[in-house]
């Protein structure tokens, strides 16, 4: 660990750590100046105008009313600036780059499980390559957790029954904390781990170590195991929609509303298929609620993604 003796902030190990720290430092200077200013002013006044025999009665003095206008207007303008700055950062953190490396995370009491597209699985540890955007798709198996990477200055709550995504781009190799930041029960403080940022070559080497095949291929096996392929055939003859090229597209439902076939749609369509049936198909698919684990769901999702349009139209990520 490269911890200085008495650090005031953690290492800047991601592409936006510096941006977050800049806003932080700006706010410290601004707010420090205001706080110290208020402290000094009140103590200066309290001493200078302390009660003395010749000062039993306060002087009949009213400061100019213009002051009121000033200290309403000036903070308001500063706040607008802060709002814009903070929101710019927030959008930056919410907008996942297209070429990000997909990693899947599951939170459960009290561990973090990560799966790599190539099939590696790890618990309370995460290996990522340096200088490459990494997108994490997350769900919880039980209560709400929060995946927190302090050295990357980012975190996101992990919810049951819903996928969320977060991303970061590590800029420095090393070993950094992973914390759970949303209280989740007895061993909340033990739901911690390490993220290992590696040189791309080392990451490739690490990936090559024992695996049961890529997530997508494991998903494909599950696709056959659960007999999904009997209805979701590769041509339009099946009783269910063709899944190839489906991911990310707009789908018209039986009630004529249009939804996007995103992570959460795929998830819901597996667990509760009749909730949003595609137009032109009978709501005959059985539910898989309680039969597919979160890990397997993510593999199925990876498989559906792998046969999505991105697989054919978009080039290999840089």
């Amino acid at each position: 660990m490269m911890v200085a003796d008495f650090p005031l902030w953690p290492d800047q190990a991601s592409s936006f750590a510096k941006d977050v720290d800049n806003l932080y430092i700006f706010l410290i200077i601004l707010c420090g100046a205001v706080s110290v200013g208020v402290f000094l002013t009140i103590f200066y006044f309290a001493i200078k105008f302390r009660r003395r025999p010749d000062n039993e009665i306060a002087q009949d003095y009213e400061p100019p009313k213009l002051l009121e206008v000033m200290w309403i207007a000036v903070p308001s303008v500063i706040f607008m600036g802060l709002f814009v700055w903070g929101s710019w950062l927030y959008f930056h953190l919410a907008r996942v780059p297209d070429d990000a490396l997909d990693i899947y995370a599951t939170g459960k009491q009290w561990m973090w499980k990560f799966q790599h597209p190539s099939g590696q699985r790890e618990i309370n540890a995460l290996h990522v390559p340096v200088n490459r955007p990494v997108k994490i798709t997350m769900a919880s198996e039980d209560v709400i957790h929060s995946l927190f990477f302090p050295y990357f200055r980012t975190k996101a709550d992990v919810l049951p029954n819903r996928y969320r995504t977060m991303w970061f781009q590590a800029t420095k190799t090393g070993r950094y904390h992973i914390f759970c930041a949303e209280y989740c029960g007895t061993l909340h403080s033990g739901m911690i781990g390490w993220v290992e940022v590696m040189e791309p070559a080392d990451y490739q080497k690490w990936l090559a170590g024992g695996t049961e095949g890529s997530m997508a291929s494991q998903g494909e096996q599950l696709f056959q195991k659960y007999a999904c392929n009997t209805c979701h055939t590769n041509d339009a003859t099946g009783r269910g929609p063709v899944l190839a090229g489906l991911y990310g597209k707009d789908i018209t439902l039986s009630n004529d509303t249009v939804v996007k076939a995103d992570d959460n749609y795929i998830r819901e369509s597996i667990l509760n298929p009749q909730a949003k049936t595609a137009k032109g198909f009978q709501p005959i698919m059985p539910t898989f609620q309680g039969q597919v684990s979160e890990d397997d769901l993510m593999k199925l999702l990876a498989y559906v993604k792998s046969i999505g349009p991105a697989a054919t139209t978009k080039g290999t990520p840089q």
Binding site: E56, F83, S87, A181
Partner: protein, 551 residues
């Protein structure tokens, strides 16, 4: 007429024979009292006990956090302690502290009324509070609760094995107590003001209590229904926020924070009211920008309802609604800034007395400022992602709640102690305690800002070793703070018997409460006062004093 009435400020109330304390005797005369002053005393006693209890949990946590490993308490015990610390301090201390003790005692007197509009309901509020407190104590004794004071689902409804039902039920009942108090205050302020006491002649403490009551009335019912839904879900096993039925745990958070964010203002607004009264009394000056300060209380009460989801920026709300809430969150800081600047400006060319209440309030202004500006860090969306759910948040709200509310509560207790008991507290000890509280507080909570930015999450029983130095500092500060809190309990109790008799107006302050005897008679005033002067009209009073040679 002005001079005549202000003249009374110094002269009336000389007769101390009959007052609300010695008017009747016996336990029943207290337990069945409808006198707002006696009910305030009942609250004072019960709240003090619960404050000590909440402080005990805090101290145990601080001792546990001396070392990185979780070695003193088990994880479960630690989790229960931080939950109980939060529940006890928020629902049983901070929310009722200033309104139910100081507000109850002083509101009718400051209005020149004989009592609150609904004395029986006032007593009922206290019984509800006690019922809630007793349920809470039963929960604690029989095993506690470990959900955090926020009771987030689905942990609270489906995973926790502790007394979630009992605790939420206690909070529910305490909520009713708070609603009834707020209702009583609003009706009293509207309908029971003394002749001549127009809105702009009201002390700012009354304005603050009015704004507080509005928040109590409009926010608390939503907590009540939310906790009811939670209790139902916990009892029948499925329910409103259950993800497996398609329910959304974030909806619980929305509804919870619709109450619990405004609840922050229930805790801080009365503190601001105390600050205004104390600043005026110890500078002998009208508060600069009286109307701005008065209306900023109402502005806070209103804006406070529009910002709740800033507790949920990483929880999974839509990015666009996060923008709305962040924008509004910045603007709730404006009225607080108005107050701070106006208090500061009031000191200019004032006659500042360094007596204990003023010491607390000077500390309050500074610490509240720090608490307020660190809120800007949390409202800045991109930065909030990093610091939310860390010790930064813990430090921020302790600066507001302890540096703000508790300091102001102590200021108010000292300021009105002579009125409540008729006795002066020992000034030297009181100043020492104020100093200890200030130093101990900063030592406890300032390191936590740094800890938070370094990434130490909240509610951690064990932590990474590099966080230890700051945690040790924090624990050291907590022990100083504890001494600072124990001292007033001792000397205030001592002063009831041995304190110097105070007389009706020991501070030379303006206000209806200082025109009646200390302690006040049962009916507050021997005859209904007629108000002809503005709040904090010190120049007029000083002139009156000069004329009667009665300094």
């Amino acid at each position: 007429m002005t001079t005549a009435t202000l003249h009374d400020v110094r002269l009336s109330g000389a007769s101390t024979s009959r007052n609300y304390i010695n008017d009747e005797y016996g336990a029943l005369s207290w337990l069945l009292t409808k006198d707002h002053k006696r009910i305030a005393i009942l609250y004072l006693l019960s709240i003090s006990v619960l404050f000590v209890l909440g402080g005990f949990f805090a101290m145990m946590m601080r001792i546990e956090l001396l070392t990185p490993a979780g070695d003193l308490l088990t994880s479960d015990t630690y989790n229960k302690f931080f939950t109980l610390h939060g529940v006890v301090m928020i629902f049983f201390f901070l929310i009722p502290a200033i309104p139910a003790v100081l507000g109850n005692f002083l509101l009718p007197i400051q209005l020149g009324a004989k009592d609150l509009a609904f004395p029986k309901i006032n007593l009922l509020s206290w019984y509800l509070y006690m019922a809630a407190a007793i349920i809470g104590l039963v929960v604690i004794v029989t095993g506690g609760v470990d959900t955090g004071w926020t009771f987030y689902t689905p942990f609270s409804t489906q995973y926790s094995n502790t007394h979630v039902f009992g605790t939420t039920f206690a909070a529910f009942i305490a909520g009713f107590s708070s609603i009834l108090t707020g209702l009583n205050f609003i009706v009293t302020i509207h309908r029971m003001r003394a002749p001549g006491l127009t809105w702009y002649r009201l002390p700012l403490f009354v304005w603050a209590l009015y704004a507080t009551s509005v928040v109590m009335l409009l926010a608390t019912p939503v907590l009540a229904i939310t906790l009811t839904m939670l209790m139902v879900e916990r009892t029948i096993g499925v329910g409103f926020f259950d993800p497996s039925l398609g329910g959304d745990p974030l909806l619980y958070q929305h509804m919870f924070w619709f109450y619990s964010h405004p609840a922050v203002y229930i805790m801080i607004l009365p503190a601001m009211g105390v600050a205004s009264d104390v600043v005026a009394a110890f500078t002998r000056k009208k508060i600069f920008g009286y109307r701005f300060v008065a209306f900023s209380s109402l502005a806070i009460a209103f804006l406070g309802f529009l910002v709740w989801a800033h507790h949920m920026f990483v929880a999974g709300i839509s990015v666009y609604s996060a923008l709305i809430f962040a924008f509004l969150s910045f603007f709730v800081a404006v009225p607080s800034a108005i107050k701070v600047f106006n208090w500061t400006a009031t000191l200019y060319r004032a006659s500042v007395s360094w007596q204990t209440p003023m010491l607390y309030i000077l500390g309050f202004i500074g610490l509240f400022t720090i608490g307020g500006v660190t809120g800007l860090f949390l409202a800045s969306l991109g930065l909030d992602i990093h610091v939310t759910d860390t010790y930064f948040v813990v430090a921020h709200f302790h600066y507001v709640m302890v540096g703000g509310t508790v300091m102001a509560y102590l200021a108010g207790i000292h300021y009105w102690w002579p009125k409540i008991t008729g006795r002066m507290y020992p000034e030297w000890w009181a100043r020492l305690a104020a100093l200890l509280v200030f130093v101990g507080f900063n030592l406890t909570f300032f390191p936590q800002f740094i800890l938070g930015y370094l990434g130490m999450p909240r509610r951690y029983h064990a932590y990474a070793p590099e966080f230890q130095v700051l945690n040790v500092l924090s624990t050291a500060g907590a022990s100083v703070l504890a001494v600072g809190y124990v001292l007033p309990i001792i000397y205030l109790v001592w002063s009831i018997w041995f304190g110097r008799p105070a007389g009706p107006n020991p501070w030379g302050a303006v206000g209806l409460e200082w025109t009646t005897a200390s302690p006040p008679p049962k009916e507050n005033f021997h005859e209904t006062p007629v108000v002809t002067w503005d709040a904090y009209d010190y120049p007029a009073m000083m002139k009156a004093m000069g004329e009667t040679q009665n300094v």
